[in-house]
Amino acid sequence: MVGQLENGQYQVFMALHLIHEVTSPQAFGMLKDKGLKVAYPTRTFATVDHIIPTDSQARPLADDMAERMLQVLEQSTAEHGIEFFAPETGSQGIVHVVGPELGLTQPGMTICCGDSHTATHGAFGCIALGIGTSQVRDVLASQTLAMDPLKVRKINIQGALKKGVTAKDVILHVIRVLGVNGGVGFAYEYSGDTISRMTMEERMTVCNMSIEGGARCGYINPDEITYEYLRGRERVPSGEAFETARARWSSFASDDDATYDDVVDFDASQIEPTVTWGVTPAQAIGVGERIPTAETHTDEELLISALNYMKLEANAPIKGTAIQVAFIGSCTNGRLSDFEAVAEVLRGHHVARGVRAIAVPGSEKVDAEARARGLHEIFEAAGFEWRKPGCSMCLAMNPDKLVGDEVCASSSNRNFMGRQGSSTGRTILMSPIMVAAAAVEGAVADAREVFGLEG
């Protein structure tokens, strides 16, 4: 915290600033217009993810505008002395995969990035905020942001998850219950024994979609799992310095007697593998449930427009809905453990005829580790294409897009109309193993049944 502004907002220092090619080139232009320099270039790191093709990344990129965006990022970072994790350096990847895996993301930091899924980094006990381009400019020029205080809602999740139920199902369930605007004005702090048992990668999946619930950011207290994840990472101090850092990190956890503006309790044992049926992430149901009707949905207009767009019927089972595309990847579910979980069940199965299935590692490091473990071969043997790292089909700013009204079983985070690149394309969000099950069946399916995970 630096101080208070005239309008009552606070000026907050940003310990780490991450940038990518979509929301940042314009900010460098704004700096130039004002004759400003980057104040703390060593606190900003860049990667390229949204526009990078996942088939060939040979330069120049086939898409002229994509090439230009990449060039502007290259030039701007070089000019201002900002480290850029370019393709083929071994460090490139989706910004929210790269930060944690390099150990740039550390407990207690304030982190921002021109990307709403910055909430991901909250899994480390960080205040991590998605910002607009003018704010990217503010941070480049001053390393600070103007902010209003946030209320905190504790999302307390207790109990054991059923087999086949993942972190993705947990967050889809939370958003289903609290709504896409339920979190407006709040930071979501996830806690409870279900969260404490989760790995860092699972916690990142949960925090990642906080923004889909309307929350400004997501947060989980740092603990031993956090510190052990960070130990030995490239940008984390080692030896004695690690122990010093760890002692400092553990001082950032919220106290047991902290007070909250709101508390919501969830029973993890009640959560089913969850899939969306509509055009917002809150329009979700358990895979065994039926699509809502006017009686069971709170907003009839939204229901009708969503069903019209999705070409689905009220009260129909979601299971069995035919899919044409399967996508595993994104900043929500593009980490090593996501591909490991799928590889474990996918062996011996094959993608259904007529389904285009792609697996896109979240970073070059994820790709390398997956290859070292032979995971790519399991995916390829099952009929998936194993691609190069990038945002890929999550938002279709690259060649990976739906065609016409194709239905995509997707491990990404948004099922908005047109999100995956076709104005009539349809997205059904689910966990990676549920995507694999849908790919194998050619239709939305219960992974527990397809892969015999019961009991």
Binding site: G8, F13, A39, S142, S305, S423
Partner: protein, 195 residues
């Protein structure tokens, strides 16, 4: 007219709750290195079919051409943090957005660009939207100081986030100069965190 505290113009109502940033500007239009050309892509897939033919969206109705005030429903601007969304709204010609509620990042982005986001309760906002549809040629008069909209001799109250309203009244909605003024204090924080 004092443009810090007052706005006026004709309005257009774009109905729908949870209108997300991908609907405001689809991702495929985000490929740009400046925001200058984004205006025409505003609500593109809502306005045009796959052949590029107009679907008769409110924005394209003759009675609303030239409108500078956008009215919508609840949770407007949810989804991405992309400033492309408010930039497209601004470049299209809007300088005020009225809704029942706003997504936060979108709200913040609008503020920095100088677009006030006015919140109105459901019933009066619906009444205002209905009146605008009936008499689209009549301008609204908006006063940020008194937080009132005058339309057809009727007065409608709205609310604003206090810090946002303060920033508009003081003309400091773009905080950069204020942030830069604290260089020394910022350097002290940087030094403390760099130990």
């Amino acid at each position: 007219m004092d443009n810090k505290t007052k706005r006026s113009g004709r309005a257009v109502y774009v109905p729908g709750n949870d209108i997300d940033t991908d609907r405001i500007i689809p991702a495929r239009f985000l490929k740009c290195v400046t925001f200058d050309e984004l205006g025409p892509s505003l609500f593109y897939d809502e306005r045009f079919d796959v052949k590029g033919e107009s679907k008769g969206h409110p924005l394209d109705q003759a009675t609303h051409v030239g409108a500078s005030i956008l009215i919508s429903d609840a949770n407007f601007g949810c989804g991405s943090s992309r400033e492309h969304a408010p930039q497209a709204i601004q470049k299209f010609g809007f300088d005020v957005v009225i809704a029942e509620s706003f997504a936060e990042i979108f709200h913040g982005n609008c503020t920095t660009l100088g677009i006030p986001c006015l919140q109105m309760a459901k019933a009066p906002r619906a009444e205002l939207a209905a009146l605008v549809q009936k008499v689209p040629e009549e301008p609204l008069l908006i006063d940020l100081e008194s937080m009132q909209i005058m339309f057809l001799n009727q007065s409608f109250a709205f609310s604003m986030k206090p810090s946002t309203r303060e920033a508009f009244l003081a003309g400091t909605f773009d905080p950069l100069d204020e942030l830069l003024a604290q260089r020394d204090a910022v350097a002290a924080v940087d030094a403390r965190l760099s130990v």
